[in-house]
Symmetry: C3
Subunit: 265 residues, 3 copies
């Protein structure tokens, strides 16, 4: 099965929708990336909100437009909040997205991620090792960084999409986004995205936001991946290292979302 | 009741005091804004410290000059730490400030915020929806972003100030700061402050710091709001989007606090 | 006992090793500095990972190359995770580093830090007040900022190194790094490092990473201190305040780790 290459023509209307509808994204995510996740969503015109108590998480997931579940710093109280939020989102017909950070390498999160798959995520965004682990293949990952090419995980992503019903995005040097039948590839980006913490986790939040938009969810999720790669390229050209790159990444995402305008009032 | 407009003449001596006394601010705040809250206080010459265990929080609140309580990612263990810290601060005669994030929209924090009001905050800093919810008016807020103008919450702020005894700052396009009798308005700023996470939460930390200074607390809290609006304007002029804006905001706050000097040794 | 001055000739091979081996550093650290800690490690080519559940922390500490234990926002569940991770790291022969934030000022963390000393840290990195408190001297610290010169803590550092078997780094205007017999001094840096949150905590993570490298651990830890001081100086020259300084610090660390190259693809 060959992959269609996503181009900007397909992504532009998704970006416009994102800005116009400003989806409210409930993020239950890891301790390390809370700040960058919120700032990436804000730069694109979406609204982030982190609500973590199990009771409040259930309340809020029904109000928000989309839910993100990220397993990066999983704890047992957090598991309860995640279950409550997912059940509430599903009952309210709101899509939820899974970022199974470091799954395969650690026991608690691996069994939890498999449990969550039964609750029908709308989308899954992960690196190659994580997607292969979720699809049941054994991998060599030691943690959050994938040691593998996304090409090796392309088939696993397709399997996982068919089994879970989710749009699966396996991201890395080339991103593959699949619904189990159609597969879209997004090229480009920069390795500097791996030298700043949270760019993958923040991308999952953008995937969650785009999952809430009208239209073809495969194209919407692919547009999220496309946005991050284009912003990464623009940020690299405007920076001198990972510090200025992280700053420029937010600027670039904002410029893309606003069609090039920077408000000056 | 008309509002007096705060100008730089009133704010300057507060900034000088802030730098000279470098208040130690005990922050029990949400997971998303810990970093920016600390950096905003440091940029202004104050000292942030986050201490979260209930026993240690009680110990530390008595040592610190001011306490900030922010409900953004409230949990049940955090409630215990907050109660312990507030009781200790009050017993030691140290002022505490409440930031009732998303109050009105979620049950646990709404009842908790009302409970805390009885413990006599020195100051409350919030957006229009939150102030109206705390004052007992029903609102349309879905979360952390206010959907309302601060003009609509001006009377609610005055009511809340009279009822609680706190200085109440309702911030947004125009900030109103009131002790229930006098009301000060602070104009200006930029909408870009809403495109970076934590600027409101960090402002609450500056309010907490300024509450610990000598002099008229209404003027001190108004000066905190004035500082953030002026820094926002300077940062907007020096930036290309929300990433560089966040960076420039810290630079601008530091320049204001230091009277324009940047140490080069 | 006189101190040898560390120079770049000694640090360069450590930086090269750091980039080549990219140690995976398991960080159990405080809520405020998670982001900057990860970004500093990434800028230098190391791999950070934060794993916090006690069971997963034990699993992961055996996989990682080094462990960092930072007491900044200590909680009781975190204590369990820290004990489990340290025991697992020690059993697997992996070095662990202690950052005893605000020890001496607060009861829970002070008794816990003394308990942990018995579990044989490979390295300890702290400010003057904290090192004196750990060595059993009473101090005047009110929190995370040391009120004292590192010169006053030099003897306490030597005592602590002899007693604990750890390499002890007391950092401030001058850094002293000692194994109890030899003591190395690192001069320079900038006070601006104290106006950005987490630079000390992130340095402890770099110390943890360098502890995992081959060679003389005293020289490795001193090289970590040397790196941060040189990056601080370069960042100061390239910045206009604490916001741009924080950005430039990551750029400077990356340039040092990469020998001056910034990838543009």
């Amino acid at each position: 099965m060959s992959s269609d290459l996503l181009c900007g023509t397909h992504a532009a209307p998704v970006v416009t929708q994102l800005r116009r509808h400003a989806p409210l994204v409930h993020c239950i995510t890891n301790d390390v990336v809370q700040n960058v996740t919120a700032n990436v969503l804000l730069a694109l015109g979406a609204s982030p909100a982190m609500v973590v108590d199990a009771e409040e998480a259930a309340e809020f997931a029904a109000i928000a437009d989309a839910l993100l579940i990220n397993l990066g710093t999983l704890t047992r109280p957090q598991q309860q909040a995640m279950r409550a939020a997912i059940d509430s989102a599903c009952a309210a017909g709101k899509p939820w997205t899974l970022d199974p950070v470091a799954v395969g390498a650690l026991t608690l999160r691996t069994s939890f991620a498999h449990e969550l798959l039964a609750r029908k995520p709308a989308a899954i965004r992960a690196n190659a090792s994580e997607i292969r682990a979720l699809a049941g293949e054994s991998t060599g990952g030691r943690g959050v960084d994938s040691t593998e090419s996304t090409h090796l995980a392309r088939e696993a992503a397709i399997t996982l999409a068919r089994r879970s019903g989710a749009i699966v995005a396996v991201t890395g040097e080339v991103d593959f986004i699949t619904d189990g039948e159609r597969t879209v590839a997004v090229h480009g980006g920069t390795a500097m995205l791996t030298r700043v913490v949270g760019t993958g986790c923040a991308l999952s939040a953008v995937v969650a936001a785009c999952s809430a938009l009208a239209g073809d969810r495969l194209q919407n999720v692919a547009a999220a991946c496309w946005l991050m790669k284009r912003a990464g390229e623009a940020a690299l050209a405007a920076s001198h290292g990972p510090g200025s790159f992280a700053t420029a990444l937010l600027d670039s995402l904002h410029v893309q979302a606003c069609g090039g305008r920077h408000e000056t009032h």
